[in-house]
Structures are given as structure tokens and as C-alpha cells.
């Protein structure tokens, strides 16, 4: 009798558990998630101009680095530049004369990109073709992160990093990352629609990072 009762209870509990109601996905606006982090010691007023790379690194399941230079990529780069201009910085075409550098990456596939360990050496040391500090100058030996990065990367994500090029350029020193942004959402399948959402995400990244705005323009 007890055996049967126990079986009935297990069956009833399983039945109840299967009755959990899923959230209503139609309520979602599907705007992209935007996450930003900063180096607390970064002072916007100490920086005046910036250089932005003219292409977006495409991260997919191949080991060869690819760079996006399409019309959509240009729109993304322009949107970031527009927000930097609005924040009071001046765009320069020569990275040697820039105080700040901006690099953008788009994750199409997470074959290589999964997560970021909270200890050095960081993942991009092992990723073939990822932005190298060498891109910003031969004297940099690795990245300097003052904040922990604790999120996992997903497909259809845009990564943006703002590097501080004003720190003393000594052989072997780390290039400090002053700010980064991570924008992610499910692709809809419509390139134009997704690009617009990504651009709104970039606006949001700057909106929620008010410390990037210069006071004395």
C-alpha cells in the first residue's frame, strides 16, 4: 500500500513539475543586450582624440582572421565614431597621434570564443587573428585589464574595446583597456533589421557610459 502511495506521489509530483508555464515570448521586444565595463581610473578629460580601425574583425569557425568591410560594417563603425564625436573626442586618421584607440569585433560563431577566464593570459592570446596589442604599437606586450570580465560570449555579438594610448610607452608594458562594450541578441535573419538593432545597441552603450563624455570640449 505504502509502495503504491509513494509511486502515486512521485507520479503526481512529476505531473505537477511538467505543468510549469513557460514565459510568453511574444512580449519580448528583442532589443539587444548591452553590457559595458570601464577602468575606474579612466578620466575622459585627459583624452582628446581617437582612432578607430576601418574594419571589424569577424570571428567565426575558421582560424584565419577575416575583416568585415561591408556597407553594414561601415554603418557600425560610423555609429561608434558618431557617439565618440558626440562625447567630445576628435577623430584622427593616424593612430600614432591618437589618445584613444577603438577596435571592434563581430562574433559570428563561438567555435573559438566561448568565455573569458578571470586570470591571465587572456583568451585572445590563443585566438588566431584577434586584435593584437601590436596593432597599436610594437612596444605593447599584452593587454592591461583593470576589471574582471565574467560573461560568456554568444553568436551575433559585437565587441568593442577602447584602449588608452596615452600611457607611457615602455617596452614590454601592457596596453590598458579603458572601456569595453558587449552587444548581443538573437539574429532575426534580416540583415538590415539586425544592423539597426546593433546600431541602437551602440547608442545605448554610450548612453549608459556617461563617464566617457568629456566635460571641457
Amino acid at each position: 500500500m505504502n509502495y503504491r502511495l509513494s509511486l502515486c506521489l512521485v507520479a503526481l509530483t512529476s505531473f505537477c513539475h511538467s505543468c510549469q508555464k513557460e514565459p510568453d515570448w511574444t512580449e519580448q521586444s528583442n532589443e539587444y543586450l548591452v553590457y559595458t565595463q570601464r577602468d575606474a581610473s579612466f578620466d575622459a578629460n585627459q583624452h582628446h582624440n581617437y582612432f578607430i580601425a576601418d574594419s571589424i574583425l569577424l570571428i567565426d569557425d575558421t582560424a584565419e582572421p577575416k575583416y568585415l568591410k561591408s556597407q553594414e560594417a561601415e554603418k557600425i563603425i560610423s555609429k561608434v565614431a558618431q557617439n565618440m564625436d558626440r562625447s567630445g573626442y576628435h577623430r584622427v586618421n593616424d593612430k600614432e597621434n591618437a589618445d584613444l584607440g577603438l577596435q571592434l569585433s563581430y562574433i559570428f560563431d563561438t567555435y573559438y570564443f566561448t568565455s573569458y577566464p578571470s586570470y591571465p593570459p587572456y583568451w585572445w592570446w590563443g585566438y588566431p587573428g584577434y586584435w593584437d596589442p601590436y596593432y597599436w604599437g610594437s612596444y605593447w606586450n599584452g593587454w592591461g585589464y583593470s576589471f574582471p570580465i565574467s560573461y560568456s560570449y554568444s553568436e551575433n555579438s559585437l565587441l568593442g574595446e577602447l584602449v588608452d594610448l596615452t600611457v607611457p610607452k615602455e617596452e614590454g608594458s601592457h596596453l590598458p583597456v579603458a572601456w569595453n562594450m558587449y552587444i548581443n541578441g538573437e539574429p532575426s535573419g534580416y540583415r538590415h533589421f539586425d544592423s539597426n538593432r546593433m546600431q541602437r545597441g551602440i547608442d545605448q552603450a554610450f548612453r549608459q557610459s556617461s563617464y566617457l563624455k568629456k566635460e571641457n570640449r
Binding site: L12, H17, Q20, K21, E22, P23, E31, R38, G185
Partner: protein, 211 residues
């Protein structure tokens, strides 16, 4: 010899008399059935003082059965389940050196079960009662950020007072309607990420059938 046979027969009868016969078993079974009750209810449930989900929902059910030990006092068992979902529109959370903008779907699923006690008052068509439940509760909290789900589940202690009424509008008195209001307290923590609630408190009402 004859008297000895009579003595054996008398002794045997005395031994067998206290044992219920088939007919008596049937009577006892009918009597047990008559003094038992069964409730199957739909329920609406809301949370009290929760920063995770504060929207009332009707995604739940309640099952209870009991037996009247005396004319008014019954004990039995119950199990119920409930989901409270809430959509949180796109918003920005700002911390010291980081910020996150996203929309979220919060979901809290609860399964309490255990024993119940009930004291009914007198009445012919409408029989009000007060009751209490005590038992265990399973809770699962889920936070969906785009289709990524962050969740935690746990077990806790559950207690719930209840008032209700059984209404018998039909000639066949066994079948009736059941209405009840309840409050519940469970020691389960709920919430994930930056939402933390030390306990889980609910209020709600049930409506269904009784027989």
C-alpha cells in the same frame, strides 16, 4: 461429548465475532468514503514582498483529499503547483564600473505538498471551514535574458492557513463547489542574479470541485 462440541463452537464464534465480515467491510468502506473529501481546484496566486515576481497569475492547480476523524475535524494530504511569470521591459542596471541594458522574463515555479487539517462548521448547502497545511515546498526561480536562462532551485518548509467553503447545490450531495482563500509562507529563497528574497510568501484563492 455433545456439550464439548457446543463449547468448541461457542469459543470459535467468540473468536470470529470481532472480525469484520465481507458485508461489514463494505459498510466500513462506504462509511470511510462518505466521511472523506476530495478537492480539485484551479488557483490564482500572487507573491507578497517579492522583488522577483509581483504579478498574480492563474497558472496553477491544487489537489487535496482528507478524511473526517470526527464529525468536524479532518486530516489529509495535498499537493499543488503554480507558476508566476513576469516580463520586465528593457531597462538599464548601473553598477559602480559596469552597466547592463536588457529585457528579462522572470519565472517562479512552486510545488508545495504535505499534510492538511480542516475544521468544518455546520451548514446544509454551504459548509464553511478553516484549515491549515504543513509540508515541504520545491521552488525554481528562472531569469531569462534573451533565451539564456539563469536559474536556482531549492527545498524549504511550507505552512499555510486557509479559509473556505464547500457548496452543495445539487440533490446528489457528494458533488459540490469549492472556494478558498489562503496565505502561505515557505522558507525557500527565491530570485537569481541581483534579485534576492529570503522567503517565499503567497496569497491566493482557489475554486474548483469537491466530492
Amino acid at each position: 461429548m455433545k456439550s464439548k462440541i457446543y463449547q468448541i463452537l461457542l469459543a470459535s464464534s467468540c473468536c470470529l465475532l470481532p472480525l469484520p465480515g465481507h458485508a461489514q467491510k463494505q459498510i466500513n468502506k462506504a462509511s470511510f468514503w462518505k466521511s472523506s473529501y476530495f478537492n480539485i481546484d484551479w488557483q490564482a496566486n500572487g507573491l507578497i514582498g517579492s522583488d522577483f515576481v509581483d504579478k498574480i497569475s492563474g497558472w496553477g492547480a491544487h489537489f487535496e483529499m482528507g478524511h473526517y476523524q470526527t464529525a468536524n475535524f479532518a486530516i489529509g494530504g495535498f499537493i499543488s503547483y503554480h507558476t508566476n511569470n513576469e516580463y520586465l521591459p528593457y531597462q538599464t542596471f548601473i553598477w559602480e564600473n559596469s552597466a547592463l541594458s536588457t529585457e528579462q522574463q522572470h519565472s517562479l515555479f512552486q510545488i508545495p505538498f504535505g499534510i492538511s487539517a480542516r475544521y468544518r462548521l455546520s451548514g446544509q448547502y454551504a459548509i464553511p471551514y478553516i484549515g491549515a497545511k504543513i509540508g515541504a515546498q520545491y521552488t525554481q526561480s528562472e531569469d531569462y535574458i534573451h533565451r539564456t536562462c539563469v536559474y536556482q532551485n531549492n527545498w524549504g518548509f511550507y505552512i499555510s492557513p486557509e479559509i473556505g467553503v464547500e457548496i452543495y447545490p445539487f440533490a446528489q450531495k457528494r458533488f459540490g463547489l469549492h472556494l478558498a482563500c489562503y496565505y502561505s509562507f515557505a522558507t525557500n529563497e527565491h530570485g537569481v542574479l541581483w534579485y534576492h528574497n529570503k522567503h517565499t510568501q503567497n496569497y491566493g484563492f482557489r475554486t474548483g470541485i469537491t466530492f
